[in-house]
Symmetry: C2
């Protein structure tokens, strides 16, 4: 007979504020509350909602045991803002219709990646799309990875609150056993906001250099966002490249005058 | 860059009807529907509800993608009936207040036990208590094991639909890699119903033998149920012991006349 285990799980205090849940365009406040409840169950605190459908979402009664969490939830207009300070942004969804532009990892494999990122003092965002259509192609362009919950192909679409619970169960369970020593900050990843800043400057360079016709700009912006996320840039490299492109931009503008 | 994975998960057809979900005294039909939806997501089909609070539960709109599953859900008055044909009955809950009478296993360890039982053609029930107070001590006396989801001690109580989703994610994920060859039926476990039958005969023997005062009978019945489940009786041994106690009972009754 095995010895009983009494709640042996506690997410390390240092990591509780570093794993963020982001809900994009959630329609039903009950699902926002359910996400908050699951976060409290698994020891998390930082929830962000992007462009919620119902303005009264903060009153969700389903946030049992998590009223404070809901009070502290940050609302933003865009996903870019919500993940600006994150170093690893992971989109969620079932890959059925279209071929994704990011690497797809099964949920069980994501855990070790997230542990590593948290262990080196990174900040991770787990992004969930709206109940109706999930994350859009534009939302996904802010994500380095796409995680997939292994569901039945005949019925892949999960309830939002249940999907959040399943992901957090898997991710926080592994966080326990991750190394506690942070790696020196020289190797820390660039945040999403820093990548966006770099993308802006590169885009200005493209325009200043007459790189592509105006009609192509939205498409280029999208591809650029994806490219920068594929590179897994460190914060230091991001600064270097930004410096370079700023210099190029100055030069281009200087020549034209 | 990893190759994308397109829904690589399918629960083996042979196991889809062998992992049952049982909801005891669920109050909110939305939670029954949410459990049904999670089951469909993870490829399961057999749901049972015991003494549901709301008689209109079968109309739950939250059972998205699982209307057939809800139609086929079996309603029973007692947990004993609901798990009568199961060879491994697992209770769910957070172990906080009282010391449990069964071995407690963390969810991640339960998966291999369930895989084994399914692989040798057993039938497994995963039993969830009501939203308000979870499983009662009496409910738990029908369970061989108690599984615990590792949650934060400050907020251990999960939403019913979310708890079902987390458990099924963990259990069906492992079922994939379980051996497909069934072990000969000689070693198959006794079903819950057969254990109850044995318990009844033993109880009659106790009474016939004047084993304990009448006031002790409910308590003895409870302890007996637990004892039989701790033994992990095979179907064959269960038959043998039943034969023995029937013989003893006949003898006791014969002597008294």
């Amino acid at each position: 007979m095995k010895a009983p285990l009494y709640n042996r799980f506690v997410l390390p205090e240092a990591q509780r504020d570093s794993l963020n849940v982001v809900l994009v365009s959630p329609r039903n406040p009950l699902n926002i509350g359910a996400a908050a409840r699951a976060m409290a169950n698994f020891g998390l605190r930082r929830l962000a909602v992007v462009a919620p459908f119902d303005p009264t979402w903060r009153e969700a009664r389903s946030a049992i045991g998590a009223p404070e969490l809901l009070t502290n939830t940050v609302e933003s207009a865009t996903l870019a803002e919500a993940v600006a300070d994150c170093t690893l942004v992971v989109g969620t969804g079932t890959v059925t219709r279209r071929k994704p532009e990011q690497p797809v990892v099964p949920l069980s494999d994501l855990a070790s990646l997230v542990s590593q990122e948290l262990a080196r003092s990174g900040r991770v965002a787990l992004v969930f799309g709206s109940e109706k259509h999930g994350l859009t192609r534009d939302d996904l362009s802010y994500c380095q990875l796409l995680v997939e919950i292994p569901t039945d192909p005949l019925q892949p679409s999960m309830n939002l609150g249940q999907a959040v619970a399943v992901c957090l169960y898997e991710l926080t369970r592994r966080a326990e056993s991750s190394p506690a020593t942070p790696v020196p900050s020289a190797t820390s990843a660039a945040s999403s906001g820093r990548l966006d800043l770099l993308a802006e400057v590169i885009e200005e360079v493209m325009q200043a250099a007459g790189y592509s016709p105006r009609a192509m700009q939205p498409s280029n912006r999208h591809d650029l966002r994806l490219l920068l996320r594929r590179l897994s840039l460190s914060a230091r490299d991001n600064r270097r490249i930004l410096g370079l492109f700023r210099r190029i931009l100055w030069r281009l503008n200087h020549i034209r005058r």
